[in-house]
């Protein structure tokens, strides 16, 4: 140490005392780090705000307010209701009659009339009818129903409807809230987890309480099946050929450029293509998850090809050389050695591509999957692909456009479910990457 320092010139700079230029450089680095932290903090803040908003607006969708009542439906009442044109309305009337009849013995002592009770209840007729049609033996037996309240009453509990600002309308009167409070105090009106929202189907615009995202989730599932089973083999085969076998010439260059360009094409363009090719030319059914899946396949293919080629490229050439060196054919070297090593990257790319496709709405607008579609569960695999259905993002879009604010809450709730699916898929991608990752 002493030797070294003695040989230094007179303008010697100590390593321990920073000079002006070093200070400047250090300060620049510090500033850059600060910028980075600020950038991450801003991003994090946005994420927090977004998450908070989504949870705040969406979580109420998972709570349902129901009234409980024991009903004994006689065979005569059942036959009378079934002989009507609007059978569900007849069941609603029966329910309201029963509901009024024993309110007093349950401790509700607020004056009310039948119209008020009708305003408080949601669309209950459909639920009652489908229950009795499936359980014909229960006619004449006491059955306890838990049926939804109207969207205005739910709004009252969830803070959307306020006693001070309520405007009397045929949907809800200010005085109805007294009945609601009395029902709640008497334990007739309770809240529970809204399974109907998670597993149910879409409902008409006057029935936000009956709306569920289940059927459209099934639609999304069948679409993703189509995307997976078409885009993975096609995409991987195309990438392997382009990366490992294809000669480098103008034609393959052109193909490559076009694949990169396709990845940037707005998704609505694929929707128009799907409408004209699959529906108008090939005569596939409208609103079918099969067509949705085909359109999304077109959209996902470039993503999968690009990520597959990148992961094939990242396999060191020495592995190919070694395989060829011990006498493997080109195809053997690819399928026995290169592909397994590239698999984690391919799977990650595929799952990210699928996640992207899962959240896509625009192309579905054009092939008839937006509107009042997701009303029925498919009966089986074929019906799952061919029968009209919606998809989760399309369902959310539909709800967000409806007049009743109850649907707005459902849209946010739907976003939460969609995000859970996306998180699960991304977690799967990370898990697969970690599990199959090889180092060399």
């Amino acid at each position: 140490m002493t030797d070294l320092s003695s040989t230094e010139p007179a303008t010697h700079r100590s390593l321990k005392v920073a000079d002006a230029r070093t200070k400047k450089r250090n300060a620049a680095e510090k500033r850059f780090r600060a910028y980075g932290i600020v950038a991450i903090a801003i991003g994090g803040l946005f994420l927090l705000a977004l998450t908070y908003n989504i949870l705040k607006a969406g979580l109420p969708a998972f709570t349902q307010y129901v009234v409980e009542l024991e009903v004994t439906l006689t065979q005569d009442e059942f036959d009378a209701a079934e002989s009507q044109m609007l059978k569900t309305a007849a069941y609603t009337d029966i329910f309201i009659g029963n509901f009024e009849a024993n309110l007093e013995e349950r401790g509700v002592e607020v004056p009310y009339d039948g119209d008020a009770i009708e305003r408080l209840l949601g669309k209950v007729g459909g639920d009652i009818r489908s229950y009795y049609r499936e359980n014909l033996d229960d006619i004449g037996q006491p059955v306890t129903f838990q049926l939804q309240t109207s969207s205005r009453v739910e709004g009252y509990f969830k803070g959307r409807v306020n006693r001070d600002t309520i405007v009397d309308s045929r949907f809800l009167m200010g005085s109805d809230l007294d009945i609601v409070d009395a029902l709640r105090d008497a334990g007739v009106l309770t809240s529970r987890f809204n399974w109907a929202f998670v597993t149910g189907t879409d409902s008409g615009v006057d029935n936000p309480g009956g709306a569920g995202i289940g059927a459209s989730a099934i639609g999304s599932f069948f679409m993703m099946l189509v995307v997976l089973f078409l885009s993975l083999p096609i995409g991987v085969a195309a990438s392997i050929y382009l990366e490992e076998f294809a000669p480098k010439n103008r034609l393959t260059d052109l193909v490559e450029v076009n694949i990169s360009n396709l990845a940037a094409v707005p998704s609505i363009v694929f929707g128009i293509l799907g409408l004209s090719v699959f529906i108008q030319f090939a005569h596939l059914p409208q609103s079918a998850p099969l067509v949705g899946g085909l359109v999304l396949t077109l959209m996902t293919l470039p993503t999968i090809i690009i990520s597959t080629r990148a992961s094939l490229k990242s396999v060191p050439p020495s592995i190919r050389d070694a395989a060829l060196g011990i006498g493997a054919s080109k195809m053997q070297s690819v399928f026995h050695h290169v592909l397994p090593l590239a698999m984690p990257g391919i799977l990650t790319g595929t799952i990210i591509g699928l996640a992207q496709a899962l959240g896509e709405t625009a192309p579905l607008l054009l092939i008839g999957m937006v509107g009042f579609v997701a009303r029925e569960y498919p009966d089986g695999v074929v019906s799952g692909f061919m029968d009209p259905n919606s998809a989760m993002p399309a369902q959310i879009y539909t709800w967000a456009a409806r007049a009743d604010v109850g649907f707005y809450e459902k849209a946010w709730g739907g976003i939460i479910i969609l995000l859970i699916f996306l998180l699960l898929m991304n977690a799967l991608a990370i898990f697969l990457r970690k599990k199959f990752e090889r180092r060399w």
Binding site: G204, V205, D206, I279, H283, P285, S287, V382, P388, A403
Partner: protein, 345 residues
């Protein structure tokens, strides 16, 4: 992972889809976003009350719906088009060109168009068609001269209105509502203010004058909304001075955030519209392809259910939601029963 297996499954999927691409058993409907809410209510009830599958109802606007309706006859075309305006000759021409010759017109009821603004915003509580025309028309009459609209504030032409900048969110041209807005508000206002006569006096032909009357200013003063009323509502909420055009049912579902303006002194309610007092209302329709009746199961049953007294009548769920029921519903029911088609050429 075996690629053979993957490819085999792909082929299997393709085979399944190829064999079963036949026989649609649900009714397929598209068209007006104004009729969509009613159609979805009826579709849900139809599925609940009948053994037919629930019909699929898509949105897209009256013109888009009629265009798809007129694409031809067959399983991959829609059975019913919803429309918030009567069918036009241009639609009929397209229909005829594609072999859609027998069309049943069904009027389901009436819908009011209301002008509403933020509930805490300026006091836009009473409009005349003339006010709307003076505010939004591209050319108006000022001091006896036909000039490009100079007004920037409502109070500029009517001292009773607030001194606030003019901003209006009106339905885009693909909506049937736009036509009603043009015919029943702008055109009426144009005639009331004398602008129409003044235009004729300057030597314009009647057609040109009519076109000039319904032309709006654009430029951020009138904003065409091509989406749904929720978009209009969002614009109003972001813009306290804004006035928006809504359907009556939408307004009634959002009375806690919107204040409605009277038109010519009449408040829009289902009663005033049914009585014909409120001036800005229009009939709502759907059109059935007769060739599909008996081919696609449930088409006629759905149409009959839609206009049944229990559904579209004054006490039915549609009126409950905001539709003004048609006093002549019985005639419509009879026409659907008899499958009376439009006389077209």
């Amino acid at each position: 992972m075996s690629f053979l297996k993957l490819t085999a499954s792909t082929l299997a999927v393709a085979a399944v889809s190829a064999t079963s691409a036949a026989a649609r058993d649900n009714v397929q409907i598209a068209g007006s976003s104004t009729v969509l809410p009613y159609a979805s209510i009826v579709a849900e009830a139809f599925g609940d009350n009948f053994d037919f599958p629930t019909p699929v109802v898509e949105s897209g606007g009256s013109s888009a719906g009629l265009k798809r309706f007129c694409e031809g006859v067959g399983e991959n075309t829609i059975d019913i088009a919803n429309s918030s305006r009567p069918i036009r000759q241009s639609d009929i021409d397209l229909c005829l060109e594609n072999g859609v010759t027998d069309i049943i017109e069904v009027r389901i009821g009436y819908d009011g168009i209301v002008f509403a603004s933020q509930i805490d915003g300026p006091d836009y509580s009473a409009f005349e068609p003339a006010d709307i025309f003076n505010a939004l028309g591209a050319t108006v009459l000022v001091d006896g001269e036909v000039v490009a609209n100079p007004h920037t504030q409502w109070a500029d032409f009517n001292a009773d209105l607030p001194a606030e900048d003019i901003v209006a969110f009106i339905p885009g041209t693909k909506h049937g509502t736009r036509e009603v807005f043009e015919d029943k508000v702008l055109m009426v206002g144009c005639e009331e203010t004398g602008a129409f006569d003044a235009m004729i006096a300057t030597g314009m032909s009647e057609d040109d004058a009519e076109d000039a009357c319904i032309e709006v200013r654009g430029n951020g003063i009138t904003v065409d909304i091509d989406g749904d009323y929720t978009e209009t509502l969002a614009r109003i909420q972001a813009n306290p001075n804004g006035v928006g055009v809504f359907g009556l049912a939408f307004y009634e579902n959002n009375t806690d955030t919107l204040q409605v303006a009277t038109m010519s002194g009449v408040e829009p309610t289902t009663e005033t519209i049914a009585a014909g007092d409120y001036p800005v209302s229009r009939p709502l329709f759907f059109f059935i392809k007769q060739a599909h009746i008996g081919v696609i199961p449930g088409v006629k049953e759905f149409a009959q259910f839609f206009i049944a007294n229990e559904v579209a009548g004054p006490d039915g769920p549609l009126a409950q939601y905001g539709l003004v029921s048609d006093p002549e519903l019985a005639a419509t029911q009879a026409a659907v029963e008899a499958e009376e088609t439009l006389e077209i050429q």
